[in-house]
Amino acid sequence: MGLGSYISTVFSSVKSLLSGMKLTGYYFTHHKEIVTQQYPENKREGALILPERFRGEVTMPHDENNEHRCTGCQSCELSCPNGSIKIITKQEVQPDGKKKKAIDTWVYHLDMCTFCNLCIEACPTQAIVMGQEFEHSVFDKKKLKKILNKPDSKLKAGVE
């Protein structure tokens, strides 16, 4: 190592350290940047702000006709790393006499879920999304086993 590169190493490292200190110094003096939310208080005051991509629980949206978008392809079940999704399918007879696969129950084990978002990414029809609800504590573990499709719900027409 030559003397020139030795000296330039010293100066460039000092410069990079100072630029890091500038950022933390900015955060130290600018308290409006703080991202922490004070949970029980802000819920009471109605100031709870959840980011759009917050992962609370897996939900299946239903429209006003009680129709969902799940075709029962089971991609989510396959993608789930710890088996917290179980889809029970049935064969439905279509008006033209053909049989078609449809979901019977969409079982979601919230107690096993790690909120990794892989099921939502795997879903080809955007039938499931991450909800914002996060207060899941219950006294009975059985209450964490949820069935996401509502009773008598149907597949939305046109979703393949």
């Binding site: 010293v10 890091g20 200190m21 933390t24 703080i34 922490t36 004070q38």
Partner: protein, 359 residues
């Protein structure tokens, strides 16, 4: 205005009126000083613990402790009470004598080092003629406490942490010593009060040109390493060694290591403030002028603690900004960069001192 040294003198006069025996008098005074010192150091480490957590939080865009007491200021008290009630466990396979002695050695060392620090004009526990030498030599005894803790725990993480710590302190002692010598060369004295008095017409960091500035930067880097704080916290390195040398400690013995760490932080910053930033000396430029008189109205201990806490803040700023070094990078930094630079620097400082080029 009543100064701290006048208060101390009044107490001395009152006590010597009450106690006629010379030996008994000095023992009583020592006991009083010791109790005040212990109490104030515990309070200081409480404050530093709170300060560290708040500074860390704001630098990481968090809020920090804010539930116990106003703005979370009693959080450390709550933590201490919690530690008091914890079991002080001694592992079965450990060397029990060394294991239980190590935290006391750490605390005793830090208490010894605090003796020659000057807080205000004439207010100093022990104004010895070898102040700087004493501090730099006694503070390195703490490595024995760390090695004892690491060895006696009979745990591979503790031993690795302690060995790293030994390597680190032995290397960084060199450049910390050389940067202290820079000021000693300029002052011509090792006595703390002489060093402070020599800065009556300007602090050394302003008077000593660039070489003293370099010595100051090296002092800050090396002292951060000396007290095992991030980015040089290889002795603890929680991501690789769980907690390093104090892995096996719990309860108050663990709290003692924490206490020693914070007092060490204070001592190092007090030394930096005394040697480079003028100690309790107000901000003076040149000899007698109006600016100097205006600055004299601020009491000395306010200056001392202001400077010390500024340096403590800077070291905390380092901790929450920089990533930890690897052991080879750590030793490279010392032996390839800091040591050669400080050796050339000491030469420049000596030339300045000989020719009297400083202001």
């Amino acid at each position: 205005m009543i100064t701290l040294s006048e208060i101390a003198h009044n107490i001395h006069v009152k006590l010597s009126g009450a106690i006629t025996n010379e030996t008994l008098l000095s023992i009583t005074e020592m006991a009083i000083v010791g109790i005040i010192l212990l109490g104030s150091l515990v309070m200081l480490s409480f404050f530093l613990g709170y300060m560290e957590r708040k500074v860390a939080a704001f630098m990481q865009i968090r809020l920090g402790p804010n539930r116990v007491g106003p703005k979370g200021s009693l959080q450390i008290v709550a933590d201490t009470v919690k530690l008091l009630f914890k079991e002080g466990l001694t592992p079965n396979a450990s060397d029990k004598f060394l294991f239980n002695t190590a935290p006391y050695i750490m605390v005793i060392t830090t208490m010894l080092v605090i003796a020659p620090i000057a807080y205000s004009s004439g207010f100093q526990i022990w104004d010895t003629s070898i102040g700087v030498l004493y501090v730099s030599s006694v503070s390195s005894v703490s490595v024995i406490g760390i090695l004892m803790a690491g060895w006696s725990s009979n745990n591979k993480y503790s031993l690795l942490g302690a060995m790293r710590c030994g390597a680190q302190i032995v290397s960084y002692e060199l450049s910390i010593g050389l940067s202290l010598i820079a000021i000693v060369v300029l002052t011509g004295s090792l006595r703390m009060s002489d060093i402070v008095m020599s800065q009556a017409d300007g602090w050394w960091i302003f008077k000593g040109h660039i070489p003293v500035l370099i010595a100051f930067v090296i002092f800050i880097i090396a002292s951060t390493a000396e007290i095992n704080r991030a980015p040089f916290d290889l002795a603890e390195a929680e991501s690789e060694l769980t907690a390093g040398f104090h892995t096996e400690y719990s309860g108050m013995k663990f709290a003692m290591f924490l206490l020693a760490e914070y007092i060490n932080l204070f001592i190092v910053c007090a030394m930096g403030a005394t040697l480079f930033l003028g100690g309790w000396m107000p901000l003076h430029f040149g000899a007698d002028n109006a600016f100097n008189h205006a600055m004299d109205y601020i009491p000395g201990f306010v200056w001392f603690f202001g400077k010390t806490f500024f340096l403590i803040f800077v070291i905390m700023w380092f901790r929450w900004t920089f990533p930890r070094l690897r052991i080879d990078q750590l030793l490279n930094l010392e032996w390839k960069y800091l040591l050669p630079i400080s050796m050339i620097n000491i030469l420049l400082v000596t030339i300045i001192a000989i020719f009297g080029w400083h202001f």
